[in-house]
């Protein structure tokens, strides 16, 4: 039986990690993630998990230790935020290139400079191209559910890739929400036993991880990495289906909210999607056909499915909580690519919001939806990319 509790996002995620009972955890503190590793180290100290915990001297070392332990054949976790992820960047590629199924919650926080400890998505978006699977979570429940599912996805024999679970710093990590835990036995059963593949500890079958590969073979190696990413989407859906059987909670590649006949639509990630859904309801109440798409699987990105889901929309706004300076926001670029695939040509605008933890309020969603309604009517776009909720 599921247990209903009131917990923070960090506590929820820490408990998912406990239920997965990893072999090795490498930890280094960074706000707002610290609380996850802090709680997990408490589980280690209290003997609730069989995990070897290593407290390292930097995030670069944390991810390096994860690579070593994972190549050795263990189920391995860590967690980080912001500058921590930025410092790991070199090793993120090693983890993915070596096909090591490490699981890492990322509590999203802005990047320096200037220094800021609050939530935005620049850290996760900056790691877009490193070969990790990324799952994004609106609230504590989704972060918990995604963490449990992450082990199954990462460790699936068709995948064997590291997975990052993203949740908004402070807004979700430190807020208390209603949450349904799986029973420990149920969760452990769902996650399953870890089967190492080519572990370094199997001394009868020696292998090399990450050797030098020159132009004669490097590209084939990368082609294989691309290939496995094309398979991951199906595994994500299969795992979600199994999860629904246990919990009754359904997950897809993204969430469609009142999209079926929507004329205007928002695309928005994580906690702000929760805020925007209420505004969508208000617009529906006024007879305006508004909808919302909340991506969940960002890497690999489900282009065709997203394009299909947005096909009825005449005007779409992609809201990004990160910027690619000099370009459009990172999510905008994905949605634009998706639209190309099915030849759909909605009027597509981009708003940058909520950087460094700036609040995203219902009135922001209202402004954007009103603008979209105007665009859908007139066919004229005033500006394609714009910052909202900012002093000019």
């Amino acid at each position: 039986m599921a247990k209903v509790v009131a917990v923070t996002g960090n506590e929820a995620v820490a408990n998912a990690l406990r239920q997965a009972n990893p072999d090795v955890c490498a930890a280094y503190p960074i706000t707002p993630q610290t609380d996850i590793m802090q709680r997990f180290s408490g589980f280690v100290a209290d003997g609730l998990v069989n995990t070897e915990l290593i407290l390292v001297e930097s995030e670069h070392s944390a991810m390096s230790a994860c690579v070593g332990a994972s190549a050795g054949g263990g189920r391995v976790i860590t967690a980080t935020s912001s500058q921590g992820l930025a410092l790991m960047w070199e090793i993120l590629f090693i983890a993915a290139g070596d096909r090591l199924p490490i699981v890492m919650p990322l509590v999203n926080r802005a990047l320096s400079a200037p220094l800021n400890i609050h939530g935005d998505h620049s850290d996760g978006m900056g790691a877009r191209d490193c070969g990790w699977i990324q799952l994004w979570s609106e609230n504590a429940q989704e972060a918990y559910d995604n963490t449990l599912q992450a082990f199954r996805i990462a460790e699936h024999m068709d995948v064997r890739l590291p997975v990052m679970i993203c949740l908004d710093g402070f807004i979700i990590s430190h807020s208390i929400e209603r949450l349904e835990y799986l029973d420990d036995a149920e969760a452990t059963d769902f996650v399953g036993k870890y089967t190492p593949l080519y572990p370094l500890l199997d001394v009868d079958h020696p292998v090399s991880y990450g050797p030098l590969i020159l132009p004669d073979l490097y590209m084939e190696y990368k082609r294989a990495q691309h290939e496995v990413m094309t398979k991951a989407g199906k595994v994500v859906l299969d795992v979600a289906a199994d999860f629904a059987k246990v919990t009754g909670r359904n997950y897809g590649l993204f969430e469609s909210y009142r999209l079926d006949d929507a004329e205007i639509a928002l695309v928005i990630l994580n906690s702000a999607a929760g805020t925007a859904k209420d505004t969508v309801d208000e617009f529906r109440g006024k007879g305006i056909r508004a909808g919302l798409l909340k991506p969940r699987l960002f890497r690999p990105f489900p282009y065709r499915e997203v394009a299909e889901a947005l096909k009825s929309a005449k005007a779409v706004c992609v809201l990004d909580r990160a910027d690619s300076f000099g370009g459009f926001g990172p999510m905008y670029m994905e949605i634009a690519s998706a639209m190309m695939l099915n030849g759909a040509k909605p009027l597509l605008i981009n708003k940058i919001y909520g950087l460094g933890g700036r609040d995203f309020l219902p009135e922001h969603a209202e402004l954007v939806l009103s603008e979209l309604a105007e665009i859908a009517k007139s066919g004229a776009v005033r500006t394609f990319k714009e910052y909202i909720g900012v002093r000019e």
Partner: protein, 278 residues
């Protein structure tokens, strides 16, 4: 705000955002006092800060030029800065123990090796206190922290004959001192000498953190308790007792004995340009 703060620090940053009872302010004040004693003005100094309690609480307090580095990188930034600053400009860095002796140790060692001219004040609150109180690399053995509920048992840089100042001395540092924040004028004098050394200087200054270290290790946030706990475990060099953790004073003073990093680069490059050889 006292006259020293008025002269050197930004009024809206004082008092700082540190918890009440935090000892960091004593270290901060000792640095400013040393600057004053040397007759230096706001424009004579570029002040760099790192991450954590020491970084956050001293960042942006200096009226003059300043910069904030990412965790552990401030020494690498300072080396770059040293190359372009006029030699008479001083660089002072206020950092924490996790920054200097953990994530940034590699950069610190190379700053010592190259004898780069700046003065590092390592404000040691005995672990990672701004993230809630995890043990670090100078946390006394046996101390209870959030990540060492049974007592810190790892090898660290301050026990079993190990001393991080020894590491830095062997790496080439030219001025090294250790103090606790209650050392007052003795600490000010060490900082003053550190700033006067044209080369790499480091002053390790332990200070009391009542909020996280005190509450875990001593079971109380009582400021007086943690102050006394630290004071009891400190003694001047040469007067150590059995329970002394921090012998205070100047560990090593080879001030102005070795060519400084930027001077060495500038001179050698100039000579190679001129003669084609070193």
């Amino acid at each position: 705000m006292d006259n020293l703060s008025k002269k050197y620090l930004r009024p809206r940053k004082i008092p700082s955002t540190a918890c009440s009872g935090c000892g960091l302010g004593m270290n901060h004040k000792a640095v400013v006092q040393a600057i004053y004693d040397l007759g230096l003005e706001v424009e004579d100094i570029v002040w760099g800060t790192s991450i954590g309690c020491a970084g956050r609480q001293t960042f942006g307090t200096w009226k003059g030029d300043g910069f904030a580095g990412t965790h552990g990188r401030v020494y690498a930034i300072a080396r770059g800065l040293r190359l372009v600053l006029p030699p008479e400009k001083k660089i002072i860095l206020t950092v924490g123990d996790g920054d200097a002796f953990g994530i940034g140790l590699l950069h610190l060692i190379h700053s010592a090796r190259s004898n780069a001219d700046f003065t590092v004040i390592v404000n040691d609150n005995l672990g990672y206190m701004s993230t809630g109180g995890q043990y670090g690399w100078t946390t006394p053995r046996g101390s209870k922290t959030d990540s060492s509920p049974y007592g810190m048992y790892e090898q660290n840089l301050m026990s079993d004959g190990m001393d991080v100042l020894g590491v830095l001395r062997n790496a080439g540092a030219t001025f090294l001192a250790r103090h606790v924040s209650m050392d007052g004028q003795r600490a000010v004098e060490s900082i003053r000498k550190g700033i006067q050394n044209r080369g790499f200087s480091l002053i390790h200054m332990v200070y009391p953190c009542p909020t996280n270290f005190g509450s875990r290790e001593l079971g109380t946030r009582d400021t007086v308790k943690i102050y006394n706990w630290i004071k009891k475990k400190a003694a001047p060099l040469g007067e150590e007792k059995e329970n002394t953790l921090w012998a205070t004073g100047i560990y090593y003073d080879a001030s102005n004995s070795r060519r400084e990093f930027s001077e060495s680069i500038h001179r050698n490059i100039e000579k190679i340009r001129r003669t084609g050889t070193i």
